[in-house]
């Protein structure tokens, strides 16, 4: 925490070396966050750049209370920056879900049919799965899973209903599950084909 505080004070003093340290230490983690929200790497770096500028501008209002508080605070800013970026680029990112019987119908969680994943998939592939989702699904999924927002908080941030948030999340999970299954099937097919090839 002491080092974090010293670095913060250095940034507040507008020292270039402190800013370099800040960027080098947290840019990678924050870029990973941005990559989950943006479709393309270039967009993610733009969001990262914009978010860091906002961090510099508002750092004087930050009070470090414990270790990791700075990163959490920076992530919050980066999430907001990413959401603003998405809003600017895509107006209709959420697919309204209309239920057949009334709007206040409680959305039921679908049963867990997925089961444990035995095969590890690379981070790039998983990230690709997420970025290939529709913007609305992707955003809700990121906010719920990684930022640990509640549906109520997501609804407030994205200006939609809680049911919409839940349905978006469910659809995102369904799509991701399908993608994972396809990847697993592909890997299995490749593995089986290799064995068959080796047998010959």
């Amino acid at each position: 925490m002491k080092r974090e505080k010293e670095m913060t004070e250095g940034v507040l003093s507008r020292r270039n070396d402190a800013m370099k340290v800040l960027y080098d230490r947290y840019a990678a983690s924050l870029l990973g966050l941005c990559c989950r929200y943006c479709t393309f790497r270039e967009d993610a770096e733009d969001v990262l750049h914009e978010g860091f500028i906002k961090i510099l501008e508002h750092l004087d209002g930050f009070r470090s209370e414990h270790d990791g508080a700075l990163l959490a605070w920076m992530k919050r800013i980066m999430v907001n920056t990413a959401l603003n970026h998405l809003r600017d680029r895509q107006r209709s990112e959420f697919h309204a879900i209309t239920f057949a019987s009334g709007a206040n119908q409680e959305y039921e969680e679908e049963p867990d049919l997925f089961g444990p994943i035995l095969t590890s998939i690379s981070q790039e592939v998983l990230l690709k799965m997420i970025t290939s989702l529709p913007v609305g699904y992707r955003t809700v999924f990121n906010l719920y899973v990684f930022e640990e927002f509640t549906h109520k908080e997501i609804a407030a941030v994205l200006h939609c209903s809680e049911n919409t948030s839940k349905s978006q999340l469910s659809k995102a999970r369904a799509l991701l599950r399908n993608k994972i299954q396809r990847v697993l099937q592909t890997e299995k097919a490749i593995t089986h084909g290799q064995l068959q090839t080796s047998d010959r």
């Binding site: 800013m19 840019a27 990678a28 500028i53 640990e148 509640t150």
Partner: protein, 436 residues
């Protein structure tokens, strides 16, 4: 967050929790460049507040000093005139104080005159008295017709010119630090300081304009120590470490002008009989006199002298021509010397204190003690200039200085007492052009 942990959620969360892609160099460089500009903007923003605070303090300090030293007495412009009595009474009468016992004449009914200026009767000593004649002689000799008294409000030609300051030297625009245009990759904490975009090259030229304020304390004057306020609008041309500064300014100071007043002390007054008229009463049994009296002042024959000082405010126009050289030159600040001549021209003066009030005394003569002030004088100044560049355009200066007057500030040339002064000049400059 909901308590239910979906396996997909858990899987993605665990798989990507340490996903930290390395940003590209382009992205990193872009951020550091933007951060530098952000530093510059915030520093400029912060310096603007500092500049505003400095100006506010300087203005408040000047105003308070002005009010503290501005002793406006609101002197009424009263012209002193000699009290001229009416025609002298007959030598046979001895003037006496009022309310003397009246001596009645034979069968005279003395009544008050109808003239308003003779409200009461006074007693007369009918017998001629030599001492009264002597006193009357004194009156006669001591009461000129109405000597033309000079106006006690000493005009500018009579009052000594006390030139307290004229240190309205333009601030050293040339003292603005010549910033080195450095393009080396090393950046200090104040990276923008070395940026070529805001710094002057040592070999470059620039023109700056600024305003300055200099409180000045003068010594070795006829009126003793004196204090002056100097304010100026100045322009500086810089070329490298050298600079030339000029401009126009106003210098305001106060001085006292002493005069020696000779007068006769007022003793008292009496009512002199001008004429008497007689008229019969209706029964034609009595003659009723009517006395016409006038008030006569009596002054001591001894001539007294009193010194009186009048405070005046003098306003000068100052035109300096200051040459400078910076022997220490850094991106943000410079330190150098300044020297050069200053021309002061008297614009006007205004009396602040009240005129001499003689009361009932009679003024005989007014002699000037303090000489008048000259209209123009020259000085030479020397100082150490320290300047600080707050931003690309704005800078501050502080310059303790000393001045020596080539000639006295007073009219007569035989006055060898030449004043000298010290002061501290504070200036705010704006950089108009930067040429490399």
């Amino acid at each position: 967050m909901d308590n239910y942990k979906h396996p997909i959620d858990e899987y993605f969360r665990e798989a990507l929790k340490d996903y930290e892609p390395v940003p590209s160099d382009r992205s990193r460089d872009a951020f550091l460049e933007s951060a530098g500009r952000s530093i510059k903007r915030s520093r400029i923003r912060r310096n603007r507040w500092f500049l505003a605070a400095f100006l506010l303090l300087a203005g408040a300090g000047s105003l308070s000093t002005w009010l503290m030293f501005n002793e406006n007495h609101d002197a009424p412009r009263v012209t002193v005139s000699t009290l001229t009595p009416s025609p002298l009474p007959s030598p046979n009468f001895t003037p006496s104080k009022q309310n003397g016992k009246a001596e009645t004449g034979p069968e005279l009914v003395i009544t008050e005159s109808a003239r308003p200026e003779i409200p009461t009767l006074i007693s007369f000593n009918a017998s001629p008295a030599s001492d009264s004649a002597t006193s009357l002689q004194t009156f006669t000799s001591g009461l000129p017709e109405e000597p033309s008294m000079p106006d006690h409000r000493m005009d500018e030609t009579t009052l000594p010119e006390y030139r307290a300051e004229p240190s309205l030297e333009p601030p050293d625009e040339a003292a603005k630090p010549p910033y080195r245009v450095e393009q080396d990759g090393t950046e200090t904490e104040r990276g923008p300081d070395k940026s070529a975009s805001i710094l002057l090259s040592r070999n470059g030229a620039s023109v700056t304009v600024g305003v300055s304020y200099t409180p000045e304390w003068m010594f070795n004057t006829l009126e003793g120590d004196n204090f002056a306020h100097n304010a100026a609008l100045e322009g500086t041309f810089r070329f490298g470490r050298y600079s030339i500064r000029t401009g126009a300014g106003v210098s305001v100071t106060k001085g006292t002008h002493e005069v020696a007043i000779r007068y006769n002390d007022y003793i008292g007054s009496y009512k002199a009989l001008d004429s008497i008229t007689f008229a019969w009463n209706p029964e034609h049994t009595q003659l009723i006199p009517t006395l016409y009296l006038t008030n006569q002042d009596v002054f001591d024959s001894l001539i007294l002298q009193e010194e009186h000082a009048v405070v005046r405010r003098y306003t000068y126009l100052q035109v300096p021509l200051i040459l400078g050289y910076d022997f220490i030159s850094r991106p943000r600040f410079t330190l150098g010397v300044r020297t050069g001549p200053v021309l002061s021209i008297l614009l006007g003066s205004r009396q602040l204190s009240a005129n001499y009030d003689p009361g009932k005394d009679k003024i005989i003569m007014v002699n000037q003690i303090t000489p008048d002030r000259i209209q123009m004088n020259w000085q030479v100044m020397g100082g150490i200039n320290f300047s600080y560049l707050c931003s690309r355009r704005w800078g501050l200066e502080l310059e303790p200085e000393a001045r020596y007057y080539f000639n006295s500030v007073y009219e007569p040339s035989d006055i060898t007492q030449k004043p000298w002064s010290i002061g501290i000049r504070a200036a705010v400059n704006f950089n108009f052009s930067i040429k490399k």
